[in-house]
Symmetry: C2
Subunit: 387 residues, 2 copies
């Protein structure tokens, strides 16, 4: 997905793996300052011992670095609750193309002294500067975490379940993920994970995180009663103990792994209006017919973010031609984003125009020319090839 560690042509790969020290942690404010090479899972462990959590969590947490997370503006599983890194990152230290160390590594929640320069580097994929240290706001560790895994009879019911649970769970809702029946079949076939609920066209994973176990259980119980009673949900299971919570999350988190065992995978990561989120999956199944092995849709429904994946026995140019630019055009027709959280890198740099107007692409090129006039930072990536 993210090819940052693989040279395409003549690039030099720079590793921050040994810049792995925590520089400070403030136990009242929850502000963590650390070097860019710290592994996300190790930071999670560090702050959890101090009764906080990292504001982001992703499947790759065991190996990804916080510097890379910030450089790619990683989304992930806690986005719905804690929002974008543009809000939670408080400061950065960045090495610019000319070797200058730009010190914007403050630990302040509020700072309006001039332009917020750190924002430039969040999500710019290393093309404007190299992030060497990060200051980030960590939320308090929730005292109670509950997970519900539910089966829904149709996508309309998935959407209604989302609206209902936003209303009834309110501030404790921390994730709303969905997957379709084909995802569940593949997770079962390739990873031998069994579905904890009756076979359904769609499955939803809801997580709550709160400060009072009793209150949270009561809110979730009332919601489940309503969802089952009104037919939004046909079957469901709940977990509060860590082992079962992890087991339910694995069904969702390991879809990528199951897909990779299914064959060659064409991957798309789209932001779409939530009502239209699944239409592209149905559309592609009809369009591709037997040319595709499987067409699946899953992802962060609460954020309007669909992971659309197509598997085939092997890579085929004709299947690719049936997918692209069709998927991008379809997304552009919905004013969606052709890269919601995965970023641009090498392979998507020429499709930016489906989600950004020419004026925006031009300003991006101007910023690149300003900050990296010799083009030495992550060359061939992120920006479209210039005419």
């Amino acid at each position: 997905m993210v090819g940052g560690s693989i040279p395409v042509f003549d690039e030099i790969i720079l590793s921050t793996a040994r810049m792995n020290r925590v520089l400070s942690f403030h136990s009242v404010s929850g502000i963590l300052v650390c070097q860019a090479g710290c592994v996300l899972e190790e930071l999670s462990r560090y702050v959890e011992e101090r009764d906080f959590i990292m504001p982001l969590d992703l499947g790759a947490k065991g190996s990804c670095h916080i510097g890379g997370n910030v450089a790619t503006n990683a989304g992930g599983l806690r986005f719905l609750r804690y929002g974008s890194l543009h809000g939670t990152v408080l400061g950065l230290e960045v090495v610019l193309a000319d070797g200058t160390v730009l010190d914007c590594l403050t630990s302040l929640r509020k700072d309006n002294t001039g332009y917020d320069l750190k924002q430039l580097f969040i999500g710019s994929e290393g093309t404007l500067g190299i992030i060497t240290a990060v200051s980030i706001l960590c939320p308090p560790k929730p005292r109670a975490v509950n997970v519900a895994f539910l089966g829904c009879p149709g996508f309309a019911e998935v959407l209604q379940t989302f609206s209902t649970c936003k209303g009834m769970l309110g501030e404790i809702l921390s994730a709303f993920e969905f997957m379709d029946a084909v995802c569940m079949q593949l997770v079962g076939r390739h990873l031998h994970l069994a579905s904890p609920v009756q076979e359904s066209p769609f499955y939803v994973l809801i997580e709550t995180s709160g400060s009072n176990a009793g209150h949270d259980a009561e809110k979730l119980g009332r919601f489940l009663e309503h969802a089952l009673g009104s037919g939004l949900v046909t079957d469901g299971t709940m977990a509060t103990d860590q082992r079962k919570v992890k087991m339910l999350w694995a069904l969702r988190e390991r879809i990528t792994e199951a897909l990779s065992r299914d064959g060659y995978v064409y991957k798309y990561d789209l932001s779409l209006p939530v009502e239209r989120l699944y239409d592209i999956v149905t559309d592609l199944r009809a369009r591709l017919g037997p040319h595709a092995k499987h067409v699946v849709g899953y992802g962060h429904l609460g954020d309007g973010n669909l992971h659309l994946n197509v598997t085939a026995e092997a890579f085929s140019p004709s299947l690719l031609a049936a997918l692209e630019p069709h998927v991008y055009e379809w997304t552009a027709g919905q004013q969606g984003s052709v890269s919601a959280e995965h970023g641009v890198g090498f392979r998507k740099r020429d499709v930016l125009g489906y989600s950004k107007p020419p004026g925006a692409l031009q300003l991006m090129q101007q910023l690149k020319a300003l900050l990296d006039p010799k083009g030495i930072l992550n060359p061939y990536k992120t920006l479209p090839i210039q005419a």
Copy 2:
């Protein structure tokens, strides 16, 4: 404070007052798209009728425009809960210095297609482009709002009350404001507002916003019992009905008005480590002695943001000389910010260096030169005078 509507020399003032239309509102996602001249309070009313709230709220809501809020990266009373505009603003339409309309007005929660250009304009005070439309994520309207107004025997107890209430109120805490005894005296003297609690050295206003009135009342009740029982708080009152909630908020929100009736006001808006937040107030009282009429401290303690105000019968250069650069040097010594939420404008442009290193100031100048080579956008503001 913000002199955006007053020409200093030869500037042309541009009003967006007639660009006051809501362009769209999405009732599932809560995403509002509107023109820049919409008044914040009118937008609040609009989204509240649809069961959402604006992610920001400030004293000036009755007259300020959303475009100005975004251009100045306004903080305000809901920052603690809903965070910075860098996280809640999803898209902007901006007119650049050369007349190009930059359309980044998406309504997507996630979009990693290239650099996040809108971030450049949030907080740049109109010096890089003119915001003409805003897309912003509105949180669901809380079903229950409670306010507690408490008296604390010392600043150490204010801090402990903050830590305790973060733990016990968790996800429903939506504001933690403080004011000192002098603020309360001035609000009483000039505005005839009576304190609802016994006289104390410090006062704290705590607001909760949640989805379940019963659960919220129980959490707040337990917290108050603990705070009173352990001596963190010596007296307190609570409100759930709108009228009393407003009355308690008025004590905090009308401090600015009371100060302006007290004489000439020297105003500072600082971000500081929360433990040191009040030290500068004590320091200044000793330093200024009878030269100042009153030295007061109040503000958004939960965000580490102090409003430090000094009143005098009239403006005096010698009092100013006693205050500046002392206040800025003191703040710099704590790695604080000399402008937390109020911005830079005309008067503070030459003190940026207390909070930002030379490399950052240089990059700001380069961005200004790139986006506004002729210097026609909000001239004389925000950036230091170049050598």
